[in-house]
């Protein structure tokens, strides 16, 4: 059974005989956990029953490894908190090999206590003064790296390959040493980077400063979750109806490996123009996103499965969904193999760096060759990897679409036994 404050403990002796000891009640709903990629922020509600209008002491447990200076009192209600003490509870060390009944012959002097074992939950003892007897709520806040998580998805289709059902789950691993029952959110970003963007949003709202157009990760509500020790799985898309899918070809010769997140572009002339660039075009399925249900979904691997007539499942392909690089994309694609008879080539035509105007201009031509006897539609996925500040100055394809901070897609149809060329010009700028 998960309880918010499983180890609320009476403390009588900690502060001498001054303040009276109070006890926390069974915690009601009111906790909040926000899961970031690298750590979690916990807002923990503690209810205190103060027997009389007096000073009282109470001890609660919070996540292991949290130092007292990292605990903040977010809301104290009517209480006055005069002291907060923190001690890391320790797990009782395993008995020493000699510390048993037949150790009398070992010749060791029974000396001081053994060194402490692994750190357990942190105990926070606070001394409060209440205006009257009753029950009071206090909210504590802290950050922990002892809750980790990972998201994963499956897409299931039938032999007809016309519709697909998306399922996803977050596996949350709790090693804080305490059980938590809380309203939970997941944010697909590292805490430091995300809070920088929140500060930027706030700064823009307060002072009208220019803000980045790069989309920010949206918190995804997971609902009320109970996190005991170990792993808990939370469904991300319960009851999601099937969505259509269709076959496309994708030419993506660079990928995200060269993406540079800085505001000033990388000036290396050879970046992304290696001679042995891949010519592979993949056979893929394209699945439209539903903006309402997809908002804030965390990135993770996806397996495209096909349910066969005999009821068995076979894997058609694997990909990753909801990556930062595709945060604003309207469709997802899952590659299932190499397209036969269709190849691509990527060439750079021009690179100009203008330091006076702080512009770097790069022009590319993408050539798709189709040896099939039917026309094919190809998605050309390009990555504007040199830097974050870019503008697509010119392009000859249809439906240019921004899919993420440094990713665009262009579309072209190549007639049977023919080839098609798409040209685009990107301009990078820097402050």
């Amino acid at each position: 059974m998960v309880k918010q404050l499983a180890l609320a403990a009476l403390v009588v002796g900690v502060l001498g005989c001054g303040p009276r000891a109070a006890r926390p009640t069974t915690a009601p709903a009111g906790d909040e956990i926000t899961l970031y990629r690298d750590r979690a922020v916990i807002k923990q509600r503690v209810e205190l029953v103060v027997p009389v209008a007096d000073r009282a002491t109470v001890t609660v447990t919070i996540a292991a490894g949290v130092q007292i200076e990292d605990v903040v009192v977010l809301d104290r209600g009517e209480l006055t908190i005069s002291e907060l003490h923190g001690t890391s509870a320790t797990v009782t060390p395993a008995k020493a090999a000699h510390d048993d009944d037949d150790d009398d012959d070992d010749g060791e002097v029974h000396g001081p206590a053994l060194p402490p074992g692994p750190t357990g939950p942190t105990e926070v003892t606070f001394v409060v003064a209440a205006p009257h007897a009753g029950t009071f709520a206090v909210h504590l806040g802290y950050v922990t790296d002892r809750i980790t998580w990972a998201a994963a998805y499956t897409m299931t289709t039938t032999a007809a390959r016309e519709r697909v059902t998306l399922r996803g789950a977050v596996a949350i691993h709790n090693t804080t040493g305490i059980a938590l029952k809380a309203r939970a959110y997941v944010v697909d970003a590292e805490l430091g980077a995300w809070r920088g963007r929140i500060a930027e949003q706030l700064g823009s709202a307060l002072a009208g400063m220019t803000r980045s157009t790069t989309p920010i990760a949206t918190p995804r509500a997971l609902g009320e979750v109970e996190l005991g020790a170990g792993e808990t799985r939370v469904e991300l898309l319960p009851g999601e109806p099937p969505r259509p899918m269709r076959s496309v070809l994708v030419f993506d010769p660079v990928g995200t490996k060269l993406d540079h997140g800085g505001s000033a572009p990388i000036r290396d002339a050879m970046l992304g123009v290696e001679r042995s660039a891949p010519t592979r075009v993949t056979e893929s399925f394209e699945i439209p996103r539903r903006s309402a249900s997809s908002e804030g979904l965390p990135a993770g691997p996806v397996r495209l499965l096909q349910r066969n007539a005999d009821g068995g499942l076979s894997v058609l392909g694997e990909a990753r969904l909801f990556e930062v690089a595709t945060r604003v994309a309207e469709v997802d694609t899952v590659a299932i193999g190499t397209a036969e008879g269709v190849t691509g080539r990527r060439e750079r035509r021009e690179l100009t760096i203008d330091d006076d105007d702080r512009r770097l201009v790069e022009e590319f031509v993408l050539t798709i060759k189709n040896t099939r006897t039917v026309p094919v539609e190809v998605v050309l996925r390009e990555h504007l990897y040199r830097g974050q500040n870019w503008t697509l100055a010119y392009q000859t394809a249809r439906d240019p679409t921004k899919e993420g901070p440094q990713q665009i897609s262009l579309r072209t149809t190549v007639p049977a036994s023919s080839e098609s060329k798409v040209l685009y010009v990107v301009v990078y700028t820097w402050p």
């Binding site: 903040v72 012959d105 010749g107």
Partner: protein, 485 residues
């Protein structure tokens, strides 16, 4: 043997005229009483290494005043349970029961840390050793890692027994309640009134420090703020203090040594240049357990206070920590060439109920958004009298430049006169209140000669100018500063 164990032996023939803060420890109020003054953690290394070159060290640690009951009558008085990090030279004792009591000798006996050391503290005591052949009780004469020596029997039967510790000694039972393994002060005193005396013990100890932590919770619009200030006190003295009256001291890093002596032969500073320490008395007595950290509230919290948005602008990072030992007389340094556009940041300000600037410390800022709580930033708090400022994010729309219009170094008069011009430009589409932070960085002794806008001091060498700059507008500030030494 006891006398050889690390004790610092001093002959003292005084009853202390206690230091200033100890004198306030009360003239013998009833019951145990502990007062502790803790200095803030020392600041980190300066950007230019100035503090390490400056030849002075900031005050650290704690001054502890305790009231204790001692029994006078025997040869020695032992007071266990003092801080293990006690500075023996700082110990002062005042007998509140008999002011005529004199101390003839004082020793500080550090705490024992190993089993052998603990047992060795009982040389001369009666102990019991458990062996495979039964219990042996006698007077402990000697002990080392290999063996212990007991004196057993009486009269003609009296003899020494050497027992091998490994394989033979199974257990050692020490006399209860002696406390000799704890850090202790031991005195020889002369008093005409034997019996129980109340004494006031004052000493300095390392291992205790504090640091400020601030919490700011903004509402969704960022226009009101809950602001609280906490001090985290760390007690690594090895001793526990019950119901301690706590005073926390911050600032004042330019200690007495700096005022009178510069070991590198540089110019001396005057008292006027030193930062004045600020003292915070904590309202209620505090339990300071050994090895514990305790948070206490530093100043009363503010709830739903109105916040103001400003843009702070610094043309350069504060160079003054690098020039605390010698004045900088190079007029070409930081005079505008190659300094770039400076750094502007969006910040929120809130009034706080203090007469002094709040001590240095980190501030964690949250924002309530709907039901959720978002972390916004974690940064060092900026504070001046009655004001706390929280930086949020760099503002690319406000730029500026700083240059020295004139700079005159008078080698004979020991002065530098410098006229500074700061230009700021607001490229935003919204008017901004800009706080321009300037540093009188060349030397801590300085005065303003003139300024075209009234400034406020937010630090020993920091000036702040407030200017309203319209959208797309510009503003120029000038001031002159004179450094003397």
């Amino acid at each position: 043997m006891l006398l050889t164990m690390g004790a610092s032996v001093r002959r003292l023939a005084w009853i202390s005229a206690a230091v200033a803060f100890a004198s306030t420890a009360g003239a013998g109020g009833p019951g145990p009483r502990t007062k502790i003054t803790v200095w803030a953690s020392s600041p980190g290394t300066a950007a230019y290494g100035g503090l390490s070159y400056g030849g002075y060290a900031p005050t650290t640690g704690a001054m502890i005043t305790e009231h204790r009951e001692i029994e006078i009558g025997g040869a020695e008085v032992r007071l266990p349970g003092v801080a293990a990090t006690l500075d023996p030279a700082s110990v002062q004792l005042r007998d509140l029961t008999d002011p005529a009591t004199t101390i003839t000798e004082q020793r500080f006996v550090p705490g024992a840390t190993t089993p052998t050391e603990i047992i060795r503290r009982h040389v001369g005591d009666t102990i019991t050793v458990v062996t495979p052949k039964g219990d042996v009780t006698g007077t402990l004469r000697s002990i080392d890692e290999q063996a212990l020596v007991l004196e057993i029997g009486t009269g003609d039967q009296r003899r020494l027994q050497v027992m091998r510790r490994e394989g033979y000694v199974q257990d050692v039972r020490l006399p209860p309640g002696t406390g000799v393994d704890k850090p202790s002060l031991v005195w020889r005193v002369a008093s005409k009134k034997p019996g129980t005396h109340t004494v006031e013990l004052t000493y300095r100890a390392d291992g205790m420090s504090w640091a400020a932590d601030y919490l700011a919770v903004l509402d969704e619009a960022g226009t009101s703020i809950d602001f609280s200030a906490w001090a985290t006190v760390r007690n690594a003295t090895g001793a526990t203090f019950e119901s301690a009256e706590l005073t926390l001291v911050s600032g004042g890093n330019a200690g007495p040594l700096a005022l009178s002596f510069n070991p590198y032969g540089g110019p001396m500073r005057t008292a006027a240049a030193a930062a004045v320490p600020v003292r915070y008395a904590i309202a209620t007595p505090v339990h300071l357990g050994a090895g514990q950290s305790v948070q206490v509230e530093l100043v009363p919290a503010r709830q739903k206070a109105k916040s103001r948005t400003v843009i702070t602008y610094e043309a350069m990072p504060d160079p003054s920590p690098g020039f605390q030992a010698y004045p900088n007389t190079d007029c070409n340094q930081f005079n505008g060439v190659g300094m770039g556009n400076g750094r502007a940041e969006v910040a929120v300000e809130v009034d706080v109920p203090t007469k002094d600037a709040l001590p240095e410390g980190r501030v964690r800022t949250f924002r309530r958004k709907g039901e959720r709580l978002e972390i916004v930033s974690e940064d060092q708090l900026r504070s001046s009298t009655g004001l706390a400022r929280i930086r949020l994010v760099p503002d690319p729309d406000v730029v500026g430049e700083r240059k020295a219009v004139t700079c005159t170094y008078d080698e004979r008069a020991h002065t530098v006169l410098e006229k500074i011009e700061v230009k700021i430009e607001n490229k935003s589409k919204r008017a901004a209140e800009v706080v321009v932070r300037e540093f009188a960085w060349r030397w801590p002794v300085w005065r303003l000669d003139s300024e075209d806008t009234k400034s406020a001091r937010s630090g020993p060498q920091t000036l702040e100018y407030r200017a309203k700059v319209p959208a797309g507008g510009k503003k120029t500030l000038t001031y002159s500063v004179v450094y003397t030494w």
